[in-house]
């Protein structure tokens, strides 16, 4: 029954892509909201998280249905099994985007007039890489592209470095400028969210390599 | 160990030897019989012998009427026995329920097979000629004796009774060989029982039915007791032109010839007549065999 299995898997792929796009967009809009100090935009991101969660439930159900009714094996089995995990990673990424938006709402007033906070530059750069990682990791998973997956896994190091930089730069704010304690914490938090997004993107890439080659590459020391 | 093996080998070889010898002996006996008949019979065989009527002088006449009579007898018998036998077999196998009546019918059929041929002859005389024949005469011919006497129709029917069990049993065997699956498939498509029998079962049994016919012909062409009182006669002036006529028969003719006091003259004629009888039976069987194999070939390539 190859035809029907392929139908179901194509539906699954479509749903995953939809979710990936939604997550990518959520991150983008959250950072845009940060740049433009736009609370309305930020609130939209928080609201749209519901859509991402709904997609997660739908994808879980689809995977279970495929296992029960279609008996996928070999590549199809690895793909559907990994889809369950990718689904989870994407949902967490959506949550983090939502949390960034929450911080943006809180920070809106604080950031008025503060246009040259050095950490913000790092955050923008981090966000750019994170967004790209989300886009590329989904590409790697969908197209079984091991090369892209490996590149993205390396990019996670870059994200981690930016995060370390943000912590270092935020240190002074915590000690020396108690008024902007909240600001510092929020910035660290946003950085943390982006760092976690990078980690989940890396997970998706490891699943992409597993699906493609049947080899488990996670938890390996670099 | 090798001793045992050698003994087994020996036994096996001697078994093959024994069976081979048995076959050889049978073939030898058959060969002797055929040789005797053919060598003695072929001398008197001639075209005139086959085509002429018998004459006063035993050596001058022919046996054509007897050939004609036997062939016609067997033909009418076959026409009678095959349809009745096949229909009976179909009833027994397809329609009859598994109850006492059916069992009774089967017992009757089996017992019929064991009745001595002369008894059939007497039955033919008493039932066919005296009861039915006279009955027909009274009803249709106003008392004039047309059918109430020995006639080819009664002889054929008597032979048909004799060979009926063979046809029934062979046909039933052929019916049994058609798997239940095929019947189920036919029913599931909406066919009635009758349609299934006519379109699937009988066409596939034809080979078996013809086998039954072959066996009936072989038996019927060789029995003389049933036709003794029911229609066979010797030295008739003309060939049978209607079913109510008497007929000459090869076996009866042989019977009569064998009792002739003129041994010197009758012996070659006798042998030739026997040879012709065997040839006739052989040809009848051959026709049926060819018919059957044509049918089988048609089904294979179908």
């Amino acid at each position: 029954m190859k035809i029907r299995l392929d139908d179901e898997i194509n539906k699954l792929r479509k749903s995953l892509l939809e979710m990936g796009n939604a997550v990518e967009e959520a991150i983008g809009i959250a950072i845009k909201a940060l740049k433009e100090r736009d609370t309305l935009l930020a609130k939209q991101v928080i609201k749209n998280d519901v859509i991402i969660n709904r997609l997660e439930i739908q994808i879980d159900k689809s995977c279970l249905k495929i296992f029960a009714l279609k008996q996928p094996i070999a590549f199809d089995l690895r793909f559907v099994a990994s889809s369950l995990k990718v689904n989870n990673d994407l949902e967490r990424m959506g949550d983090f985007a939502s949390r960034i938006a929450e911080d943006v709402v809180e920070l809106a007033s604080e950031l008025d007039g503060q246009y040259t906070i050095p950490q913000l530059n790092n955050i923008y750069k981090m966000a750019e890489i994170a967004q790209l990682m989300v886009k590329l990791c989904m590409e790697a998973f969908m197209q079984k592209n091991v090369e892209i997956a490996q590149r993205v896994i390396k990019q996670d190091d870059e994200v981690d470095r930016y995060y370390d930089a943000i912590i270092k730069e935020s240190g002074p704010y915590v000690h020396e400028d108690p008024e902007r304690f909240q600001l510092a914490l929020s910035l660290i938090n946003i950085g943390k969210c982006l760092e976690r997004i990078g980690d989940h993107a890396k997970n998706i890439c490891e699943d992409a390599i597993y699906t493609s080659e049947g080899e488990i590459v996670k938890h390996q020391t670099p | 160990m090798t001793q045992v093996v050698y003994k087994i080998k020996k036994k096996f070889n001697s078994f093959v030897l024994v069976t081979f010898l048995a076959t050889l002996i049978i073939l030898l006996i058959l060969g002797v019989i055929f040789y005797d008949i053919i060598s003695q019979g072929i001398s008197h065989l001639s075209w005139e012998f086959l085509c002429d009527k018998p004459a006063e002088e035993i050596r001058m006449g022919g046996i054509f009427p007897a050939i004609f009579g036997t062939a016609l007898l067997v033909l009418v018998m076959t026409v009678a026995v095959v349809p009745i036998g096949v229909i009976t077999a179909i009833y027994l196998h397809e329609y009859a329920k598994n109850n006492k009546l059916t069992r009774l019918i089967r017992v009757a059929v089996n017992n019929l097979a064991g009745v001595p041929a002369i008894v059939f002859g007497l039955f033919g005389l008493g039932f066919f000629i005296q009861f039915i024949g006279h009955g027909i005469d009274n009803m249709f011919y106003g008392g004039e004796i047309v059918y109430g006497r020995p006639a080819i129709i009664w002889a054929s029917l008597t032979l048909a009774l004799l060979t009926l069990p063979v046809v029934i049993v062979t046909t039933e065997e052929a019916l049994r060989n058609i798997s239940k699956d095929i019947r189920e498939a036919s029913f599931a498509l909406g066919a009635t029982k009758f349609q299934t029998i006519m379109r699937i079962i009988i066409p596939n049994c034809l080979s078996g039915i013809i086998t039954g016919a072959i066996l009936a012909i072989s038996r019927g062409a060789g029995e003389v007791a049933p036709i003794l009182f029911t229609g066979a006669a010797d030295l008739l002036p003309k060939l049978p032109t209607s079913l109510s006529d008497q007929f000459m028969d090869l076996k009866f003719h042989i019977f009569v010839l064998a009792q002739s006091p003129d041994v010197k003259n009758s012996t070659p004629v006798l042998y030739s007549t026997v040879l012709v009888l065997l040839l006739l039976i052989f040809i009848l069987n051959l026709i049926a065999f060819i018919l059957r194999s044509q049918l089988r070939r048609k089904f294979k390539s179908h």
Binding site: M1, L64, K65, L69 | I182, L189, G190, F299, K300, H302
Partner: protein, 262 residues
């Protein structure tokens, strides 16, 4: 036990209080009080361990059980609102409307053409052109046309097992049924032939209501929309295939589908 699944579905077969006795002289029931509705243009699978009555149930739908001596059927089976168990019903017409494919393929010892033409001929079709059309269409429907179009006059017995089974399906389609009953149609076939049959069922579903008995649960999962689980003559659970294989309601069903018994 009679669940209405969705309002889009049309009830094609409705079985009410069906009881079946193989021997009318004793009280041993092969089918016990079956109530089920099966829907038009859906594939309904009947699963259950050997001897649970699913094949007997299948055979009551086209009254092939009439061929069993001494049996007794109680209850009602409505097909398109007509009770087909009534004595007045024309069984021949019923079997035209409800076709059947058997476990072991049983083509007639005739040519491929004659096998398929048999059904229409029974119902009076004599026109050679029409018959040829029917043969071609049904063979195309079962994806057999290309394989046999050059040897329609050769014996059907020369085909492979999978081809023979597809021929039997074509033969059943030739009389234009609404419903097709399949009794383990692929159980005697190799995996590739089985896949072909399953794909065929998926195609046929567009135009026919299909009821399939199968021993192979994975097959039921792949092929059917609804599944009915029979056990010892009773209908234990009847629901969508997805539900029965992901989360059955009755424990016995779960034990059976997970392979813990039967």
């Amino acid at each position: 036990m009679n669940q209405q699944f969705s309002n889009d579905l049309i009830e094609k077969i409705k079985v009410e209080n069906l009881n079946f006795y193989y021997n009318k002289n004793n009280d041993n029931k092969t089918l016990k009080n079956i109530n089920i509705s099966m829907y038009e243009k859906q594939v309904t699978a009947l699963i259950g361990p050997s001897g649970c009555g699913k094949t007997t149930f299948l055979k009551t739908i086209n009254r092939m059980t009439d061929l069993i001596d001494n049996c007794k059927v109680e209850g009602n089976i409505f097909i398109d609102k007509n009770n087909i168990l009534k004595n007045e019903i024309d069984v021949v017409h019923l079997r035209k409307k409800v076709g059947m494919v058997f476990q072991k393929s049983n083509p007639f010892p005739k040519s491929i053409f004659e096998n398929i033409a048999y059904g229409p001929r029974i119902f009076g079709e004599r026109n050679k052109v029409k018959l040829t059309e029917i043969v071609e269409n049904t063979l195309k429907n079962v994806a057999l046309w290309d394989e046999v179009k050059d040897r329609l006059n050769q014996s059907a017995l020369g085909l492979s097992g999978g081809q023979q089974q597809r021929l039997c399906i074509a033969r059943a389609l030739a009389v234009e049924p609404d419903i097709i009953l399949m009794d383990e149609p692929a159980s005697a076939l190799d995996p590739i032939a089985t896949t072909k049959i399953e794909e065929l069922i998926f195609e046929l579903k567009k135009n026919y209501t299909i009821i399939i008995v199968t021993h192979n649960m994975q097959q039921a999962a792949r092929v059917s929309d609804y599944t009915a689980f029979f056990y010892l003559g009773e209908l234990i659970e009847y629901t969508s295939t997805e539900k029965i294989f992901t989360n059955p309601s009755v424990k016995k069903t779960e034990d059976y589908v997970t392979g813990r018994f039967g």
